[in-house]
Point group: C2
Chain length 196, copies 2
């Protein structure tokens, strides 16, 4: 719709935008440099003028996915739910973000808020960081797993060999929140224990 004429030259943000479109339509397995180049009507090699390699492009995509903080920055649960919502809003969002994070190419905007919120529970600096990372691992791990389950379901629907009990499919509705509540409870306890 708002795609620029093919004659226009592109900058970094155009490349990221094209990558987001390819991700939305093809998922992470389909997010190749060639497809991104095609989306921009450009040769693959052109992408390497903007980014030194694919991972750094993926890091820029990840930054866009996790966005900048919006949730109530004082509430651990709200922060975690909001992070999860951002991941769920994009195909394979959790996997993309997970790898960028692990490679140290992405600063998670919500992490600082999580550390602060954990601190307000009464945790010292180091335990608050540990708590924040525990939250992040839980949220990303859970969402990653869930999004891959979607893939498997789609693939299973395409061929026949699968017979996934459909009555259990949306039975997991509140499982994320339940597990999250458990982790929050753990953080509270740690705080009150170190208190005395």
């Amino acid at each position: 719709m708002s795609a620029p004429p093919a004659s226009a030259r592109n900058d970094k943000s155009d490349v990221v935008a094209a990558a987001m479109r390819v991700l939305a339509e093809n998922g992470l397995p389909g997010l190749s440099m060639r497809r991104i180049a095609d989306e921009l009507d450009v040769q693959v090699s052109a992408l390497y003028w903007h980014f030194p390699n694919k991972q750094s492009l993926l890091a820029a995509v990840s930054a866009q996915i996790v966005g900048s903080g919006e949730a109530d920055a004082g509430d651990l649960t709200a922060l975690a739910v909001s992070l999860r919502d951002r991941l769920l809003a994009h195909q394979d969002g959790a996997e993309v973000v997970s790898s960028s994070l692990a490679l140290g190419l992405l600063e998670l905007p919500a992490r600082a808020d999580l550390v602060r919120a954990a601190g307000e529970l009464g945790l010292d600096a180091v335990p608050a960081e540990v708590a924040a990372d525990t939250f992040v691992h839980y949220v990303i791990g859970y969402t990653f797993h869930e999004q891959q389950r979607l893939h498997a379901a789609v693939a299973g629907a395409a061929d026949d060999s699968v017979d996934l009990v459909p009555d259990r499919v949306n039975e997991r509705e509140g499982d994320f929140e339940a597990g999250l509540a458990m982790v929050v409870a753990g953080a509270r306890i740690s705080a009150s224990v170190s208190d005395r």
Copy 2:
């Protein structure tokens, strides 16, 4: 050492063993069907007689990595630590296992024990499963992140452009256990709350 003569034919377990060797030496990025075939002195296409595709081979590798339960099956912490040790014992173990798990191609032997241990804390069937999965997500998420940090460190040492503060490198020693303790505390609380 105990490699069979190149003339011998292979079965599934030979293929998995070769894949484990390739994984140990080259990591997940180097674990290609061609390298596995080379390791067996065989054409790539031969692998497809044993496994329908790469993912199912990876699932067999994953099953080998997570092994069969050995730890004290009644202790949540011991189970989680033991799972983590198995993942750490293999290059990119967490990533390999994570994808097989998410695709539903791997049954985690420790999961049943985790559910049981959570039940013994006083949790009902469904909350015990949620607790078990929360543990699994934490362990895999944490270890995955840690193993990718290793990659980044190795890659960073190879080129120069990296300057990762070395004084923080092994400062994380007890962070896994600390986060784990938090999650365990959360499970305990959930149990005692639903108790009354």
